[in-house]
């Protein structure tokens, strides 16, 4: 039997506002336990929430970027449940009047044909709403207790709920990468799954192909990377298929992904029947989102990844492969555009960025802004190579030194005496030495094995610690043989 997989994703995104959603505590990660808390986010009796304006404007920004309708009238509701990391016994969230609904994103449609077809599939977004994050519990086996830290409590969260439009684990993966890229462009979150600033739960069910009714779904949680989401969904798809094929039923339940075992397991705790008793939050007043506010935020939206890709292809005539890499990181593509304002060597800049620069960024786990590289310096470095002042090899070392020391290209070149040697008289002398040192090779070349010429050039480079202009060395050696 052929089955069809139905997946819907819920993404929780921590917004990178300065302060929490309903109080003035700093919104920071990784601080000592219970040091970023105040009476309001601790839910102490008598305290009251007041909405952070930035959280709402970030939410609207996200809504617009995801092609959502921004609701003109929104309100907050209380979602009531008990959990130690939820200090008030309810979460302030949004129920029937969320910030946004009816949006979509486009992912590559890999099922429709070759990737080069550029076909896209639209994944609908059901709703996106604002809420407060909960604290964190650590389950301590030795203490036989749980320990609660409320620093995270009250971090603004945007929950983005997709329709069940995804048909395989790969689509879920593509949806997440597409979504994450858009969110990074908006600069509303650091989107770091490891830190938990982006979290994802999935609903997955399968049904015989052609069936209209949805199958029984499982909710899958505890996935800590996009790869884990993909693996968990693949596992779950297979598990459900096996059940159905052996005439067993899929049970509606919450399952946790176990990364080590590569399997999902049902949650151990018997969850009480959910009855969240939503009702309008009486401590917050409703919000009218005026058209003028929406337009103001719309005007402030940056160029989004898809539009940027199109423009790069048209404006810079670079390959789609290169453009795709550049737009994956908005700081990198921004850097690229700054560089090409200063030089006409677009292709060279592009090669440098997606080559050595990206390599160093990945190695150092930072982005181009954090690494402190000036566009002028990179352009200068490329110019030096073009002018023959530095060899490509040396230029890469210089680049690393620039990052390590923060010094300029010129300073490093001067300090290290790295200028490429192009002076004929100096090079002649080196060639002379090499020829004298390598009689055997010379003999081979004379017998017609011209490929050994490269070996001689390499020897010359070695001798000069890479400073010799390799092209000139090659020419000089060639001339020697022609002459004699």
């Amino acid at each position: 039997m052929i089955f069809e997989t139905i997946i819907g994703l819920e993404v929780h995104l921590q917004l990178n506002t300065n302060t929490k959603i309903f109080c003035g505590c700093a919104n920071l990660f990784g601080k000592e336990s219970n040091t970023l808390v105040c009476p309001v986010c601790l839910g102490l009796p008598g305290t009251l929430p007041v909405l952070n304006q930035k959280a709402l404007s970030s939410a609207i920004k996200i809504a617009l970027a995801l092609n959502c309708q921004v609701n003109p009238y929104i309100k907050f509701d209380r979602k009531n449940y008990y959990y130690p990391d939820l200090p008030k016994g309810y979460q302030i969230s949004q129920y029937d009047l969320p910030v946004a609904s009816h949006g979509w994103v486009e992912i590559p449609d890999k099922q429709a044909g070759a990737p080069s077809d550029h076909r896209v599939k639209r994944i609908n977004i059901k709703r996106a709403h604002l809420e407060e994050d909960a604290g964190k519990s650590i389950h301590d086996q030795t203490l036989n207790a749980s320990l609660v830290d409320y620093n995270r409590t009250g971090t603004p969260l945007m929950e983005i709920v997709s329709d069940p439009d995804l048909r395989c684990a790969q689509e879920a993966y593509d949806y997440l990468t597409t979504l994450k890229l858009i969110l990074q462009y908006l600069n509303v979150s650091d989107c770091d799954m490891e830190k938990g600033s982006l979290r994802c739960d999935a609903n997955i069910s399968i049904r015989p192909l052609g069936e209209q009714k949805f199958g029984v779904k499982a909710e899958v949680k505890n996935m800590n990377s996009f790869k884990a989401v993909k693996m968990a969904l693949e596992f779950e798809e297979n598990r459900q298929r096996q059940l159905l094929l052996s005439n067993q039923r899929v049970v509606q339940e919450t399952r946790l992904w176990n990364e080590e075992k590569g399997m999902t397991f049902p949650m151990r705790s018997k969850e009480e029947a959910h009855d969240y008793r939503y009702f309008p939050e009486p401590d917050l007043v409703p919000f009218m989102v005026r058209e003028s506010m929406i337009e103001e935020i719309r005007a402030s939206l940056p160029e989004l990844p898809h539009a940027k890709l199109e423009r790069f292809l048209k404006e810079y005539q670079i390959s789609e492969y290169d453009a795709q890499i550049l737009i994956q990181d908005p700081t990198l593509s921004g850097f690229f555009e700054e560089c090409v304002k200063r030089t006409s060597m677009i292709k060279k800049v592009c090669n440098w960025l997606i080559g050595p620069v990206l390599q160093e960024l990945n190695l150092r786990k930072v982005n181009i802004q954090q690494i402190g590289l000036q566009t002028q310096e990179l352009v200068n470095l490329i110019d030096k190579v073009e002018q023959g002042v530095l060899s490509n090899l040396v230029a890469k070392d210089v680049f690393k030194l620039m990052l390590d020391t923060g010094k300029t290209v010129d300073t490093i070149v001067a300090e290290q005496g790295l200028t490429q040697v192009s002076d004929d008289s100096v090079l002649e002398k080196i060639v002379e030495e090499i020829i004298n040192d390598n009689e055997k090779v010379i003999a081979e070349i004379k017998q017609g094995k011209t490929s050994a010429m490269g070996f001689l050039v390499g020897q010359a480079m070695k001798k000069t610690q890479g400073k010799a202009n390799p092209k000139k060395i090659g020419d000089l050696i060639k001339r020697r043989f022609e002459n004699g």
Partner: protein, 105 residues
């Protein structure tokens, strides 16, 4: 909760309902308490039923009695409490954390 319990104009309120509410509200209820609460709450709910006489179609619900809207704060950091002050309040402090009986997931 048993949906059939609610028939038009007559609320049948049972022990099981009270038991369910106790579970939802995380209050342990002894058998005697359940019996007396069933009686008390049943009586109150019967009184409350008078609202069913009113035609409320087309009436907007009131959540806020005043027409206030769009009350915000600026995204400006204010001082937090010190961990010491926070732990002073804690019913079971443990090295800067609130300790609670084990939560099983």
């Amino acid at each position: 909760m048993n949906q059939t319990n609610q028939q038009k104009g007559k609320t049948v309120f049972s022990d099981q309902d009270v038991n369910y509410l106790g579970r939802l509200a995380r209050i342990y209820l002894s058998q005697e308490e359940i019996v007396s609460l069933t009686k008390n709450l049943g009586g109150i709910l019967q009184y409350i039923e008078k609202l069913e006489k009113l035609n409320v179609s087309g009436i907007q619900p009131t959540s806020h009695v005043l027409p206030l809207q769009n009350v915000y704060r600026e995204d400006q950091v204010l001082p937090s409490l010190s961990q010491e002050d926070v732990m002073k309040m804690a019913v079971s402090p443990h090295h800067g954390f609130f300790k609670v009986p084990q939560v099983i997931e």
